[in-house]
């Protein structure tokens, strides 16, 4: 019985998804109800997760294939809350495009379910199942605005490339299984000694698959197109939530079975990290579409998060988790601004559309400026602390090259963030945008901006929450 109690959040979520699906089919015009119920489901799941599992030290279930510990509980709660915020601010956008349908929240819920399974996994097969569940839901979400060619193209691109990477990942899993005789992380860890080099191949393939999911360079090619083509609310989801799950799998996969092989994978991660940071910074400079720009900036930010993982220490991993949490917050604010740039039922997403925003909408421009400075990592905003913790752990491992390249790429990245600020503040104003945004959109913008702005007053709280993660 205790076993089931611990996976109760997942069970509750899957039952709710089925129930909502049936409700949606039988009741006409029920998209609003489904939306609200989904929000409730997300919150309830988060609360259950918090109540049932947060205090638990480490429990393995179902023949050790699922692990419940502090890392998984924390990441699941972050995922659920982030999804809640995404859902709550996307309804206006969906209504404008007349795609406010029952499938949207249900697909999001199923992908969240997949992510929760990924986060829980202590076994390659369970991990792969979760990954596919979330990916399949995401493919459909990318094409959600199916009357638009760009959206369909995005979905198709995502599907083809993602399937390829899943194939590589699966091949890696099979290699590891072949050489260790098990798919369980703990058994693998015990079987390492004999065939280290063969296993390295497996690790490389799996890392390729994971790097693809988290959009790290050089497996990032899908990200800009998909981010640009998908509906903005889906892009918001893409940039935030799957990264949390992928990062926690990264951590679990590298730290539990393969920590002894750190010499083998550390170089790969350092490369992924440096390449992402530099490429994200440089490629974003030439962009004219805001969503594309966000795609490149998110590639860069993934690089910083991976830098923490690359250290192979508890501290580094914790700093990555802090980074991703703060990054989610900043992205939420950024996209809230994007969703506010609406005029007569049309959304504007070119960089030039920001022009002179500070004259027409001073508060919106101010919030966006705070968020952008924070993304650039300028103190005393939250984004600086995120980078600070990561580089602190990196330097403690004497990985100076990574630290210096990372910090220099923040300077390059600062350029394009500054360019946005310049356009908002220094350029001539254009027509005004609508101001009748829903309560939740305003709420999420205010909420994220204030947290970013005043994070420096209470920086230890987040650290305390995260420092309880301990998986080595």
């Amino acid at each position: 019985m205790t076993n089931l109690q611990l996976v109760f959040p997942e069970i509750f979520l899957s039952l709710s998804i089925m129930f909502l699906l049936i409700l949606g089919v039988f009741k006409k015009d029920s998209s609003k109800i489904i939306q609200n119920l989904s929000l409730a489901v997300l919150l309830i799941t988060a609360v259950i997760t918090f109540n049932e599992t947060i205090g638990i030290n480490e429990v393995k279930l179902f023949n050790n294939s699922i692990i419940i510990d502090y890392l998984s509980s924390l990441m699941k709660i972050v995922t659920l809350l982030a999804t809640f915020l995404v859902l709550i601010i996307s309804s206006n956008y969906l209504r404008t495009f007349k795609i406010f349908k029952i499938e949207y929240p249900i697909l999001i819920l199923s992908s969240v379910l997949g992510m929760m399974i990924m986060i829980n996994s202590n076994d390659l097969i369970v991990f792969y199942m979760g990954l596919e569940l979330q990916s399949l839901a995401l493919y459909v979400l990318a094409t959600f605005n199916r009357d638009q060619i760009k959206s369909s193209e995005a979905g198709l691109k995502y599907f083809v490339l993602s399937a390829l990477s899943s194939g590589l990942l699966l091949y890696g899993c099979s290699l590891i299984y072949g050489f260790t005789g098990s798919t369980n992380f703990n058994v693998i860890a015990n079987q390492l000694g004999s065939s280290e080099y063969a296993i390295t191949f497996g690790i490389v393939f799996i890392l390729v698959g994971l790097a693809f999911k988290i959009s790290a360079v050089p497996f990032h090619m899908w990200a800009p197109d998909v981010y640009e083509g998908s509906p903005t609310s889906v892009t918001l989801f893409f940039t935030m939530v799957p990264k949390v799950a992928a990062l926690s799998v990264f951590i679990r996969f590298l730290y539990v079975p393969f920590l002894d092989l750190i010499d083998q994978w550390q170089m790969i991660l350092v490369f992924l990290s440096i390449a992402s940071m530099l490429f994200g910074a440089i490629a974003a400079i030439g962009q004219t579409n805001l969503k594309r720009l966000v795609a490149y900036s998110s590639i860069g930010h993934v690089g910083y998060a991976l830098a923490g993982v690359a250290t192979g220490t508890n501290e580094g991993m914790q700093s990555s988790v802090i980074y991703i949490i703060i990054y989610i917050l900043m992205n939420l604010g950024l996209f809230s601004c994007l969703l506010m740039m609406k005029r007569e039922n049309q959304y504007y997403e070119k960089i030039d559309d920001l022009s002179g925003l500070s004259k027409n909408h001073p508060m919106l421009a101010l919030s966006l400026m705070v968020i952008l400075f924070s993304l650039a990592g300028i103190p005393p905003l939250a984004g600086f602390f995120a980078k600070f913790y990561v580089f602190k752990s990196v330097i403690e491992q004497s990985m100076y090259f990574l630290a210096i390249v990372g910090l220099l790429s923040t300077v390059v990245a600062a350029f394009y963030y500054l360019r946005l600020i310049k356009i908002m503040y220094f350029d001539k104003e254009k027509e005004k945008y609508d101001t009748d945004h829903g309560f939740w959109l305003k709420f999420s913008l205010t909420f994220s901006t204030l947290l970013i702005l005043f994070y420096f007053i209470f920086p230890s709280q987040l650290i305390e929450v995260v420092s309880r993660i301990n998986i080595i």
């Binding site: 400075f373 300028i378 103190p379 005393p380 600086f384 600070f388 580089f391 602190k392 330097i395 403690e396 100076y400 630290a403 210096i404 910090l407 220099l408 923040t410 300077v411 600062a414 350029f415 500054l418 600020i421 310049k422 503040y425 220094f426 420096f456 920086p459 230890s460 650290i463 305390e464």
Partner: protein, 494 residues
Amino acid sequence: MNFPILSSLILLPTVGAFFLFFTKGNKKNNFTVKYVALFTSFVNFLLSIYLWILFDQSTSDFQFVEQRVWIKDFINYKVGVDGISILFILLTTFITPLCILSVNNSIKERLSEFLIAVLIMESFMIGVFCSLDLVIFYLFFEAGLIPMFLIIGIWGGARRVYSAFKFFLYTLLGSVLMLVAIITIYWLTGTTDVIELYSLGIETKYQNLLWLAFFSSFAVKTPMWPVHTWLPDAHVEAPTAGSVLLAAILLKMAGYGFIRFSLGLFPAASEVFTPLIYTLSVIAIIFTSFIALMQEDMKKLIAYSSVAHMGYVTLGIFTIQQQGIEGSIIQMISHGLVSAALFLCVGVVYDRMHSRLIDTYGGIVSIIPKYSVLFMLFTLAALGLPGTSGFVGEFLILMGAFKDNFLVAVVASVGVIIGAAYMLWLYKRVIFGKLINNDLKKMIDLNRSESIILTSLAIPTLFFGFYPDPLINTIEVSISDLIETYNFRLASKM
């Protein structure tokens, strides 16, 4: 002392900015907005004077220290002042109200936002000068970029975007290496507390790289040749009040950093790199003085003269002589007053004629006599005429330099002559000569607020020129202690 006077100094301007944030609006409010800002900064000035009165000059210990846990087991919020930092705080709180007073004519739109930026800037700068933790220092040091970027970018001249970007990216690039160094120091010693680090010391073998990392940040900020090129651009495009803040206070953060961190934490490395600093300083003094001689834009000329003056400052600091460092600090204070005044002087004629080119002017001595007198005074102070504060600083620096290295001192002294040449020539071309441009005849002399600003800058310039004792007494003990520790560390190879 339970009253947290330093935190109040840091916070007060921000609180004022917060009020301004809610009082912005129509044209009518501009009046209120300005007086709220002025009031805040003036109260802050009085508070800092009070701080100076309470300050105990007989000890080199940090005073008014406040400590609070900020990030558990890692960083404490710790502030305090000693003889070295207190003068910079005074300078900041003194210049800011004058800046706010000067916006009358130059800032036409978005006044309340401008004042918010200035006040927040003040908070950050005071924070820089009194933080006693490396991370806190870095936080304030970097955070100052945001308001300054906006000040240049929003209210600047024609090429403001280019200048704002150049300013921001140059400084950021210099600073990130300092961040690496700070984290490394934490990793080596387990603390970022400056007082603790002073007593612990840092192993010699690490010092050189750490020193260079700090240097990269301070050199850009100072600015030293050859990374000075952002300064003329930033100055020329910034609005008058922005130039004043930049020249009077922002540049001093680096000089302060050199004394507090480069000398205090890395004595062995400072000894190694002294020739480098000497070379760069001397090049800055001679080379930029010649460049200044060639300028046609008044603001650019003063900007280059700032680079030259800061060359004296870095030279003085690294003589590691009592006179040299004292001279550097006094030179920084004096330059803070004089360059602020000179930029304001340029601002005065610019507001009337909308030209900064020297060619535009000439022969205005009979039209605006009051202005000409004050401009004369500051010109002379800038070239270091005895009786002005500029002389005291320059003289002490050269004295220190002669004790340490004769050749460098001789070359630096030559710089004084070129300095006199470009300043006097500027004055001659602007004020004297034939009145050719007929538009100039319509110019009106200083109005009330301009007179108040320039006079209040002239008084300390003259006062400290004749009687620099209050300044020297304040810094003396701290500096002799600093040098003593420095030499002790050097002798014991720490």
